[in-house]
Each structure stands twice: as C-alpha cells, then as structure tokens.
Symmetry: C2
Subunit: 349 residues, 2 copies
C-alpha cells in the first residue's frame, strides 16, 4: 500500500514513516515545517526523513507542501495514487493555541478539510488520523476507554481542533460507508528510535515534559518546574500515560494492516497508550538513572486544567489491531537519552 503521510518530518511522523517502510509500505511524505523551522538541510529537505532513509535503506520521497494550500495539495493527489493517508500535520503547542486560537482553528481545520476533500475527489478511502487523549478532557473515569466521554472540559483550542476533527471524520465516515476511518488517540509519546538518529526536536523551549527533562539533564535548560506536587497520586505529582514513540508509530502500521486484512472496517477509534501511568517524579528519576545526570527541579503551581491522573485502557487496540506497547519506562528514558546525547542541538547541529 502507498501511503500519504502529512506532517511526516515531525517527531511522530518520522518514526511512523520508518515503521511503515520496515513493514513493506511505501510512502509519500509531506510537511511544511510549521512546528520546526530549522530541520531542513540546505536543499530544503527534511533531515529527519533523510535519516529515516539512512536507517531503512529505502527511499523516502518528500515534498514541502502546506496541507492548507488546496492547490498544492491537489497537485500531490493528481500526481500520485494513494491507498491511504495518515494525517499528522497540525499546529500543536497548547499554550500558543490559547493565545492564537484563530491560527490554530484555521490551520488545523482547513488542513484536515482540504485533505478529506482530496480523498473524496481522488477516491482514497483509508484515513488514519492523529487524535489525542486531550479529546477526553478531564477524565470522567480511569482507565479511559474509547467509550469514555469526549468533548467536555477541553481547555485549549489545540485540543478542541483534535476533538472537532474526530467529529468531522466520524460524520464523513457515516456518509461514506465504504471509507475506513481510524482515529488514534495518542497518550504521551516519548523516547526515540534505538538508532539515536531521529527523535523529538521541539522548536524553542519544549512544551512537553520529557524533552524538557532531557534538555535539563544535558544542561541546555537549568531546572525543571513541576506544576503541582499536591495531586492525589503516588508522590503528589501528575500521572500520565507515556508511550514510546516507536510503539506509537507501530500502531499506525497496525491500523493499515487491519484494513489490508479485514477490508471495510468503517470508523474505529483506538487508545494508544501503555495503560500504565507514571508520575512526573518517576519520569525524572528514571531519566536521572539512565543518564547519570542531576536533574534539578522546582515546584510550581498547577496549570489551569491540569488533573491528577490520566491513563488509558489500551485493550481494544490489542484485541482488534494486535497491538500493544512493547517498551517500558526504562526504554523510553534510555532511548530519549541516547537521542539527546547524540544530538544535543537536535537536527540543527
């Protein structure tokens, strides 16, 4: 199967492309580097994807395309024949989305609407979408299952765009029963590929915990602020369901494997997490251990919308996709550290 991957040069994109190639899929990668300005070489190619080509020994065709640019996107569809798309392209900085809501709604919704339109026009019926645990809002129950309530208490436009895209895709799937729509709700992706050649390279100060912790460990940032240590958890710090990015990437492959094997599955929704929650302190301690570095922390106040614990029940993905996370806390931290030490300046060095 030939798969169009949007947002392919990013953290999840590059790992997903790698796993697709390792499983015999071919890809066309598109990205416009909206989230990472400095990860192209002097020819404008994605460094992350060049490394994927090096790791896999396979071609990784790439085009710099903004999915919001309808004409540019149509050219991609007119010139290629896809069996499916994986739609990862989106603005994703939670804090920025609160400050610039229109930019987030416009970019994330218009990109997705354009992509759906092209899929309808060019008869591409298999659509895998990168959704997020954020659609659940503050969990109504733990562990979170795919049947748990969504759409209530989402505190930022980024999360709202993920929720809205789910609704839109569910309705498009209903109106086009021959489509297969797979909504993958990511929990907290961390780690990096074992090679240490690709990993997370956030623009500016990291928004997510583990890249931040990694940069503190290596001395790029002075101290980690832990937002709240009085939650009702094992040690008072927030508990989340971290998942190794390679496991997450494999979930996308499994989604297409299922479509290939089963045929018309309709619309399906899967949690992609380990089902195990770790606290901020547990994550910090684990990275301390693998890195042998000191990681100074200070305690701040909880951020608006922060909750004590979020973790999922991933059993539906195991049952239907034959997928489960294989990497635990130690691999997540070891692989992050391997990437971090080999690429202290990310891809831009």
């Amino acid at each position: 199967m030939h798969i169009l991957v949007t947002g392919a040069a990013g953290f999840i994109g590059s790992h997903t492309v790698l796993e697709l190639l390792e499983s015999g899929y071919t890809v066309l990668c598109i990205d416009n580097f909206a989230n990472a300005i400095s990860v192209t070489d002097e020819h404008g190619n994605a460094i992350s994807l060049k490394r994927v080509a090096a790791i896999t020994g396979k071609p990784v065709p790439f085009q710099n395309v903004d999915v919001c640019d309808e004409a540019a996107l149509e050219k991609v569809f007119a010139e290629n024949k896809f069996d499916g798309v994986i739609h990862l392209a989106a603005l994703k900085a939670v804090g920025e989305s609160v400050a610039k809501p229109l930019q987030y709604y416009s970019n994330n919704l218009v990109a997705s609407l354009n992509l759906i339109q092209m899929c309808l026009k060019y008869n591409v019926k298999n659509f895998v979408f990168s959704s997020s645990a954020t659609v659940y809002g503050p969990p109504s129950e733990l562990p979170i299952t795919e049947k748990s309530q969504t759409g209530q208490g989402i505190t930022n436009p980024y999360g709202q765009t993920k929720y809205m895209m789910e609704q839109i895709l569910i309705d498009v799937g209903k109106a086009n029963p021959e489509w297969n729509v797979v909504l993958l709700r990511y929990f907290n992706p961390v780690g990096a590929h074992k090679s240490g050649l690709i990993g997370e390279d956030p623009k500016g100060v990291p928004n997510n915990l583990m890249p931040y912790v990694g940069q503190v460990a290596i001395g790029k940032l002075p101290v980690l602020t832990i937002y709240g240590d009085q939650f009702d958890t094992v040690d008072g710090t927030g508990v989340r369901d971290y998942i190794h990015v390679v496991d997450l990437a494999k979930g996308h492959v499994k989604a297409f494997d299922r479509i290939k094997n089963v045929g018309n599955v309709g619309t399906e929704i899967y949690n992609l997490g380990t089902g195990v929650g770790y606290s901020v302190r547990q994550m910090v301690d684990a990275l301390k251990k693998v890195s042998g570095r000191d990681i100074p922390v200070k305690i701040g106040v909880p951020r608006p919308g922060d909750v004590a614990s979020v973790f999922c029940d991933p059993s539906l993905a195991q049952e239907k996709l034959g997928w489960r996370a294989e990497n635990g806390l130690e691999e997540m931290c070891a692989d992050l550290w391997n990437w971090q030490t080999k690429n202290p300046q990310g891809f831009s060095a």
Copy 2:
C-alpha cells in the same frame, strides 16, 4: 452603529435587518443565496431585502458575497467601516448535512473563520453569532438554561458546526478580551413580519415544521407527516419552543444595544425562545384555526435523535438584554398565514 449582516437575505436575516433599521442602526447586507436559489430579482438583488427597504423606507445596501471567499470578504471590510457583525450565513438543512458532511463543515467553518479573521484584521470587535438550541443535543434538563450541557449527542453535522463555531468564538473572545461575542441560541423561529411582505421561503420541501404546515394548509403539499405520537408529552407529539421571528430579530438588536450601553461585555450566551413549549398537534391546530383550512396529517416513526420536549429558560436574556418574546402562538400562526397567503410561491412568484 454600522453592522455587517451575513446571510442577510434569509428568513432570520431579513427580519433582523428590518429591526436593526427600525432601531436606528445602519447595515451592509451580504448573502450568496446558498439556501435559496430563486429569491433574487433580474438584477441579482435580494427580493427580501428590497421589501425590507419598502417597509422601512430606508436604504438596504446589499452585496452578493460568499463569506467563504476570503478575497471577496476582505474587499467588503476594506471598503467599509463596521462597528459589528451579525453572522447568520450558513448551510442549514439538517438532513442534507448528514448526507454531505464535508460540504457543511467546510462551508460553515471556513465562512466563520474568514469572518473572524477579517474582524481581527480590521478591528471589528463586536460579533453576534446565530447559534442554535441544537448545541444542547438531547436536553440534559428542562427548561434548558445557558449553563446546561452542550456538545453531547448532537446528531448531525449542521448542529456540530454551530457547536464548533461557539467553541471557536469563545476561544477567540478569551484571547481578545476587548471583544464582545454574543452567542444567540435560537429555539424554533416561526411566523413572519406583520406586513406579510417577508417570511420564510425554504428551497424545495421545507425541513422545518411550520413552513411545511403552511404549505399543506395552502394546498402546495398534500399531507403533514408527524414523526412520532407516542412521546411523553401533552398529546404524544414532540414539543418545541417556537419563537416569532420578529421577536428573534429583536434579540439581535438588543444584543447590540447592550454593547452600546454597557461597553465591553466579553462573551455572553443567550437562549432566544419563549420558554413555552407547544406540541406538533397544538401548532397544527393553531394554524387550522387562523387559516380555516383543513390540514391532513399522518403519523410516521420518530426520526433518529428526536426527543420528546425541548424548551428553554429565556430569563437571562430578559435580565441582561431586557428582551422577551412578545408574540404568542396565535401571532406566530396568524403572521405565518398572512405571509403564506400573500406569497403562496414565496418570493419567486
């Protein structure tokens, strides 16, 4: 105040423009006739708005503009200075939205995003949005207040677009505290202006009850199908909160009056309904009475998502806007019938 009204030629739009003019506001009307292909004269002007000009004796400037056309919309903003916008333009056929979800999401979201973008760019800070009772989904409580849950159980893309636009505007309002955003949640608008010169002129077979009943009464349609007569209501048929369109239109004027008088109100949400529910049979009987016509009915099965009763608590609008519906069931039916008999073919005759 000079107000841009989108979707101005439609049922709610034309009545709203009329009430704005009667209250001393000036307007620029735009519409692209997406919902009503045949309501222009031979020069492409909106017949409904020409009648508003005739009724009020005031100019009703009009431009045929698709709000989804960013360049055309920008021209409108570049050439005019608005104090506020009333955004009514949207595709609105519930059933069609289920069959063509992408068309509904694209049109309604892109139009709204474009309009917000222009308001930000041209410093127009007062935004009144036509929301709908549909955002509540199946009511979690009766009467419905503005604090009742929204976003759960909405069964069609039309309703989802209204809910999404509310979320987007709420977030834009938060990020721009100098803005005034007023979300008006319409219940079921019916009736027509007393003059009988403007009213509801649905394209094709009416989707809403009362235009359908009117067309049965006048003999254009043979029989009304009542979808379910076994609900837990006064007579088994569904109960809704019908509101006279002139009252609804005045709600928009009151929203701008409040902004004019109070200044920065931030984001506010109001139910616009009477607070009184009538059943389908009660509505039919009332129209029978004012028309003196027979209205044949047959009983069908309830449609997916139909619920027994929906009516609101409109007291917040009374308290904050000084607004309440002045017309009751009799006026709603008498004015509908007056419009219907004077314009048996709607505006196209």
